[in-house]
Symmetry: C2
DNA sequence: TTTAATAAGTGTTTTTTTGACACTAATTAA
DNA sequence: TTAATTAGTGTCAAAAAAACACTTATTAAA
């Protein structure tokens, strides 16, 4: 069995963290440099932040701990979206050396509980991970080959995100505290991968009641300064989770 | 470790099977009679159909195997909806004797991957399980205290079902091959726990294209006989799954 | 054989939501 | 002063949703 009795060698958690910055949706990945015995140069590997769950640890807490340990991100609302359990999901030869370097029991069959989150990539301060590992943001259009079945997990998360955004107001964690209507629209356009009508978008967002118009305006831009808005978080205080199951009044729907 | 090396003592799967019969939404449960040393009568315990996953087995397949072994139901489309991982979820004293009777390693921390399905309770043929166990349908309003955290799992499934029904045409597995519009409406009203307007319901359902009107009508009822309908299954043949992600044309939505 | 009871079936109108569409306003840089 | 840039605004038409009440076909009972 495991050399470390507090670690459960059969259950892991992986985090798909989406971040929005510079009008681009990005994915948070762990990059590792691994010496290649053959070529004498370092191979670069990417993976989702993820690790084994402790035996006495709740899944949600495990996901937060793992994310925090690997990237420095703390207190992020993570939403579980799927568990992946292909018995061969970690056994591909390409993943073997990595697996051996991070697992005490590299042959264990491990299922992973996947979480996702949406955060403001600009506000997130990434801590350097342990040696030879670092956390990096990559645009979702440039996600490389990832370890294990992480590409599949990422694709699933992206699909779930696109569906979610259709029926719930999102963006709470995705934008700065104060943001302009254009930033918000740009976020939706990025996630949905299509253009939206400016006037219709504004009308719908304002009618939904999730936005609070602030008196403050942009400064120092060489065009008409935009008004800032913030999210009306009070609306969601009483709900168990923050962006799922939040249809405002049972009938909220964006861009059906 | 496990005495049976092919069983993973840390991962289980539980199935929340909803069935619809006699205008009532029902839950499929396993009932066990366990001798009580103190009272000399049998205690009756209920639980969701569930068991440990094999070490070389895909999660989806495991859920189907477990369901089939415990209830006789085969080939049912099961949809994963959440994993539950409270470290104390199986450790309550009330569950101890049961746990010891079904687990080789009753102290293992076990996370469970929960699946749900909707089927026609009348069509489902329940096989008697192994000795002292049987599968029974109970109306969801009469679900008793269940083993482990199964009440929580059930509540979660019900909530997920209510959300799902809002955006997708469901009922494929929930009603007989031929059904009347009233039966279908009754199903929706049961799941949503609210009344729907008859005319608006019929219009929406017919416009959606998911129903095929049959020429056959009810016989032997002491009122105007209702027309039968069947589902247009062809619409869904090409989709990976049968009632999720099926917004008909990207914008299908019932009773928003 | 008539009547009562029951659930099925049927349209219209109003209200709400959506989608398409083009110009003016405020600011800075040149 | 002018040019460039992005913010901000309203209307109309089409589609979807919601509200609403009477007639019809059948059996059971009188």
């Amino acid at each position: 069995m495991s050399l470390n009795p507090s670690i459960n060698p059969h259950v892991s958690t992986d985090c798909v963290i989406f971040g929005f910055s510079q009008d681009t949706l990005r994915l948070l990945l762990i990059r590792r440099s691994i010496p290649n015995r053959l070529t004498d140069v370092n191979d670069i590997h990417y993976a989702l932040p993820g690790d084994l769950v402790r035996d006495d640890e709740d899944l949600d807490k495990a996901a937060n701990r793992v994310l925090s340990e690997l990237t420095g991100l703390k207190g992020i609302y993570l939403e579980q979206f799927h568990s992946f359990g292909d018995p061969l999901r970690v056994t591909k030869p390409k993943d073997r050396s990595w697996l051996e370097s991070v697992r005490q029991n590299p042959d264990a069959r491990v299922i992973t509980v996947a979480y996702m989150a949406l955060i403001d990539a600009n506000k997130a301060v990434l801590q350097p991970g342990s040696f030879s590992k670092e956390a990096v943001w990559l645009p979702i259009s440039e996600v490389p080959e990832l370890a294990f079945d992480h590409n599949e997990i990422f694709e699933n998360a992206l699909k779930a995100l696109k569906e979610k955004v259709q029926i719930q107001p999102i963006g709470f964690e995705l934008l700065p505290e104060k943001f302009t209507m254009s930033q918000l629209q740009s976020l939706y356009e990025t996630i949905l991968e299509r253009d939206l009508d400016k006037r219709n978008f504004r009308r719908k967002m304002l009618n939904s009641g999730v936005l609070i118009p602030l008196s403050e305006k942009q400064l120092g831009v060489s065009n008409k300064p935009a008004r800032f808005y913030s999210f009306n978080r009070d609306l969601f205080e009483n709900s168990d989770n923050r962006y799922l199951n939040l249809r405002m009044d049972g009938s909220f729907s964006l861009f059906g």
